[in-house]
Amino acid sequence: MLTFILRRIGQSALVLLIVGLVAFAMFRFVGDPVDNMLGQERTLEDVERLKEQLGLDRPFPVQYFKFLEEAVQGNFGVSYRQGREVSEILLERAPATLELAAVSAIFAILLGIALGVYTAIRRDGFIANFIMSTSLIGVSLPTFLIGILLIYLFSVELNWLPSFGRGDVVDLGGWTTGLLTASGLKSLVLPSITLGLYQMTLIMRLVRSEMLEVLRQDYIRFARARGLSDRVIHFRHALKNTMVPVVTIIGLQLGAIIAFAIITETVFQWPGMGLLFINAIQFVDIPVMAAYLMLISVMFVGINLLVDILYAFIDPRLRVAGK
């Protein structure tokens, strides 16, 4: 068990080192950092001073380790475009993305499990079939089209919900939240549905197929023979046993939600990290791109690691294999 965990941690660290190398290579070789930071009016002394300050005169491995050292401390340099500390910009944008991702994840999990259980129990029912076939269309619609469709329906035609931005936010000591104001909550509805819809269908389909599998087993038949009520059988016996793969998928999809937030944030002009990243690509703002890459890799790798370790605790077979 311990070997397994240690090996997984080692692998994760390796992935992060490689990503760090990519991020550093981007910073170092895509365009000239000195050119980008000093602009048109500069003297030779300025160039030399900045080169020394950035450590560009030293050998490559030394530069790489200095970059990693700085990155671990959260120092990613200065944005070419905004002229501010990248870490400062990211911190300012992070709450918007994390709130959106959290609300979408909750939406996807709750509705996904509920609909999955329903479609499994009422397998041949009209509504269940309808939900299943609509979900197929939902999966093949690209995220940005879902967003546009929702905007058209609820903002343009019905005029119920805002189509862009976060609404009014409350500042809680550096963390801006939209969860405490009416307009903030209203602004969250469309983006979080857009972002969570795909994950919701995924969870729904998984719960449904796992439930169907479990409901066929002997212990369910035995539970029925004992005269237990449907509700107890479905939720206490069946649903509980479908949870292992569902939890894995949910864990792995959390990373995907944060990545796909880039698309949703662009459609809804949501002032989060994803929109920042897209703008950084458009204007080739390398420090912001590198920092976002590092940040999102830490999240992804961390989530993967956590899911694997949790899995080892849940599934005893993995524990034996790890020894």
Binding site: V30, T143, S163, A259, I262, Q282
Partner: protein
């Protein structure tokens, strides 16, 4: 040798018509309809200059007075009418869709071909050579799989954009896009080819080829490759649908096809600006085209996967 191949050649069409795959195809209405739709769209994109009413990117054929003409209604100033209406600059939406689909399909197909060639080469190497080569290639694949491919594509696009000089950026954008989508998608191919290669490698015909002294390269390409192609075909079809959507997404986000060569995604991006002012057709028709295109290719891929899967027969 030459006699044999001459006898076989005329029967090739016959053989195809008699094959299991074609039989399965004739039995599946979904497959036939989606093939028909996909072919129709692909052909009209290829022959866009013949099918389109105007060339929307030829400034001489444009009349700004025709801007915002609703579909099937005569324009208030010029009296001209357009099947699917016009956009803000008076371009015929029907023609821009045809030309846009051309770029979408070109990017999608080229990117998938690129990913396929790269994936096959690396997969064959990893499966056949094994050892360190295998470890390095598959580790790289694992690292890349940790990240969603759209994110990888965005990143590659950003880096490539940074490397190309500013004056070439618009010209190179299409190729950069192909590179980005292709590089983000090779892992699937490599994994499948590697697995199949490892199975084939242990079979007698490979040992026989080895014994008579065929070089490794020739064994990989002439003997093993043809036997691992059918799963590759399935992945290529499904990848094409994903690549078309990825291209549209990137172009929609403004990190893809340049405004001078708009793809379906760019058209949707343009159309979104006019959603609030009520000019719905500028957005609606490109979006529908994208959906139908991606859906038909996707359904075809799904069917192909089932038809080629021996376990389902």
């Amino acid at each position: 040798m030459s006699d044999l191949s001459e006898i076989e050649t005329p029967s090739r069409l016959r053989r195809m018509l008699d094959s299991d795959l074609f039989y399965a195809f004739r039995r599946s209405p979904v497959a036939m309809v989606s093939t028909l739709v996909a072919l129709l769209l692909i052909l009209s994109a290829v022959f866009a200059p013949l099918v389109a009413t105007t060339n929307p990117f030829d400034p001489a054929s444009l009349n700004l007075m025709n801007g915002f003409t609703p579909p099937m209604e005569p324009n208030a100033f010029t009296g001209e009418s357009f099947l699917l209406g016009t956009d803000d600059q008076g371009r015929d939406v029907y023609s821009t869709i045809l030309y846009g689909m051309r770029i979408s399909l070109f990017v999608g197909v080229t990117a998938v071909l690129f990913a396929m060639v790269l994936g096959i080469v690396l997969g064959l190497l990893a499966g056949y050579v094994g050892g360190w080569t295998d470890t390095i290639i598959m580790r790289a694949a694992d690292v890349q799989l940790t990240f969603p491919s759209i994110l990888v594509a965005m990143l590659i696009f950003g880096i490539a954009k940074g490397i190309t000089p500013i004056e070439y950026r618009d010209q190179m954008a299409i190729w950069v896009l192909i590179l980005a989508i292709g590089l983000s998608d090779w892992v699937q191919f490599a994994r499948v080819v590697r697995g199949a290669t490892m199975v084939e490698k242990g079979k007698d015909y490979v040992a026989a080829a080895h014994l008579i002294g065929r070089p490794s390269l020739s064994i990989m390409l002439r003997h093993i490759l043809p036997n691992v192609l059918s799963p590759v075909l399935v992945i290529a079809t499904i990848s094409l649908a994903l690549a078309i959507i990825a291209e549209a997404t990137l172009s929609f986000l403004g990190v893809g096809a340049p405004p001078t060569q708009p793809s379906l995604g760019t058209l949707i991006r343009i159309g979104q600006q006019f959603l609030f002012s009520g000019e719905w057709w500028i957005l609606f028709f490109p979006a529908c085209t994208l959906l139908v295109l991606a859906l038909s290719v996707n359904l075809l891929g799904d069917w192909l996967r089932d038809a080629l899967n021996p376990r389902l027969k």
